[in-house]
């Protein structure tokens, strides 16, 4: 594997009984790169990320930071610097905003000072979270919950942040804000693997894209080489 690849995936396959959701995909993410997996609903994007996070059974080889993590238990993955910000956010509704962030730092729980610093960083990035730190997370608006989910995923300082449809259900203005934040996060050194149905906004921040259809990549390449109109008509069913 190329040493400048933080993540390398070979022949990834995910099956739900007879349904083959991901069919032998190959892809990689470079150091500090932003890469997107695009595709219509049901293409197999979330299954791909869940497999990387170890949450669902899969076949194939996943190498992260030169370590084979294909069989690693899910709860051990964040300790390695790979974090998934899940689809539909998955915040803990009955815990406070700050407790949600603290739990994001579970993998570095021994380092209290680092946790404090990281909480400050998250509040600097998302001021609205700082203003609501004692509030129960379940009472936040959709946009704030997405900020919380991203902030929580950053708490253990991942080398690679995976995000599953962060734009889902948000107003265009909030989507712009969230994606600006992703740019900032990437600039500070975190690589990003993004899954999106909203191809336009995802392509704005990605250097490369993979377009998924029925569990396979139909096209892949540098963002600037892909014609957005063809992409939309042929693969995203918009």
């Amino acid at each position: 594997m190329a040493t400048d690849h933080i993540l390398e995936v070979e022949n990834l396959t995910v099956k739900y009984g007879p349904i083959e959701a991901v069919r032998g995909t190959n892809f990689f993410v470079g150091n500090q790169e932003v890469v997107s997996i695009l595709g219509a609903n049901g293409a197999g994007k979330s299954s791909t990320l869940k497999a990387l996070a170890g949450l669902i059974p899969h076949e194939g080889k996943i190498t992260f930071l030169s370590k084979d993590i294909s069989r690693t238990e899910p709860y051990k993955i964040p300790y390695l610097g790979l974090t998934l910000c899940p689809e539909r956010r998955g915040i803990f509704p009955d815990l406070s905003v700050e407790d949600n962030l603290l739990l994001g730092a579970y993998a570095i729980r021994k380092n209290k000072n680092l946790i404090k610093e990281n909480i400050k960083k998250v509040y600097a990035l998302f001021q609205r979270l700082g203003e609501r730190k004692r509030q129960l997370a379940g009472t936040l608006s959709g946009g704030e919950q997405q900020m919380l989910a991203i902030g929580r995923a950053l708490m253990n300082e991942p080398k690679l942040l995976m995000l599953d449809e962060p734009s889902l259900g948000l107003s265009p203005k909030l989507v712009d804000f969230i994606f600006d934040s992703l740019k900032t996060i990437n600039k500070s050194g975190t690589a990003i693997l993004l899954v999106e149905q909203n191809a336009m906004i995802a392509m704005e921040i990605s250097s490369r894209i993979y377009v998924m259809q029925n569990g396979k990549f139909a096209i892949s390449g540098n963002t600037k080489d892909v014609d957005f109109q063809t992409l939309k008509m042929k693969y995203l069913g918009v």
């Binding site: 964040p78 009955d94 994001g104 579970y106």
Partner: protein, 293 residues
């Protein structure tokens, strides 16, 4: 007279409350209603009886051995009986606890027989007597002990769940196991810990109530039923709800027993609780949202 009954109700109710708490913490984290709960505690009461009365160990040491044994039983039941079927057939976990109830009852009968064994109160001094206005209230020292131990357990549990990192991680598993794993939380370990806590609370309740009920295989039947009722009344997933539920039932039961009929006190109390649940089906402090945990 009324005050005397209310105080007595609080004491009984505090036992219902910790049984409810023990049931609820295991339920919240692992999603299993444990129908063998009281009987797991009963085994620990026998362990206490064996250490203290048969082998002549001192009270405190016997107590610690029995509670530790209870925590081990909690661990073993979750790890050995429930976890293997957790992903195959979650519904059968409840059936397993029902089967376990029968096995534990039979085991106790085999080992210790069905005699009523006596264990003494730890505190046997003169009761406390409070005088005020025209009335007096008599509180046996053992009851002060029960109230003190129960209060300490409740406070410790609330502090653990709300202030420690591990306690918060346990609540995270209760709310969403998959997401908790994404945070790096070993959810299997948290499930074990929740049953260890639950098991030791069950043992504690059994040892505290044993001087009144005597030790025999079905000694925990009534406490288990009332603990379940307290948990249901509290919404089955709320810790404050379990406490309020337990104390309320204790008080209702004592008042009914005194002013209406001793024979009818359980029936009457359950009827009152059913009435409350008809008006407020989610329980006193339960949420209406359907959630596993």
């Amino acid at each position: 007279m009324v005050f005397q009954q209310i105080i007595a109700g609080i004491i009984t109710g505090s036992l219902y409350a910790i049984v409810a708490l023990g049931l609820v913490i295991a339920y919240k984290v692992t999603g299993v209603m444990n129908f063998a709960y009281g009987y797991m505690g009963m085994i620990s009461a026998y362990i206490f009886f064996t250490c203290f009365s048969m082998m002549g160990m001192n009270y405190i040491l016997s107590f610690f051995i029995a509670v530790t044994f209870g925590s081990f039983v909690g661990y073993a039941v979750e790890r050995g009986l429930l976890r293997p079927v957790r992903n195959i057939s979650p519904a059968s976990m409840v059936i397993i606890t029902l089967g376990l109830l029968l096995v534990l009852e039979g085991t106790a009968l085999q080992i210790w027989g069905n005699n009523y064994q006596q264990i003494p109160n730890l505190l046997n001094g003169l009761p406390f007597i409070l005088r005020f206005g025209g009335g007096i209230i008599v509180i046996p020292q053992q009851n002060i002990l029960i109230l003190g131990v129960v209060t300490a357990v409740i406070i410790a549990l609330i502090l653990y769940l709300n202030l420690t990192f591990q306690g918060k991680a346990m609540r995270a598993v209760a709310q969403n196991e998959e997401i908790a794993k994404l945070m790096g939380i070993n959810s299997s370990l948290m499930m074990s810990i929740s049953w260890i806590i639950s098991g030791s609370i069950g043992a504690l309740a059994a040892i505290l109530v044993a001087p009144q009920t005597f030790v025999y295989p079905d000694m925990m039947l009534s406490l288990q039923i009332m603990g379940f009722t307290a948990a249901v009344l509290g919404g089955f997933e709320s810790i404050p709800g379990s406490i309020i539920g337990g104390i309320s039932i204790g008080i209702i039961e004592n008042l009914v027993g005194t002013y209406i009929s001793t024979n009818l006190k359980t029936t009457f109390s359950l009827a009152i609780i059913v009435a409350i649940l008809i008006v407020k089906p989610e329980g006193l402090l339960g949420s209406t949202k359907a959630r596993r945990v």
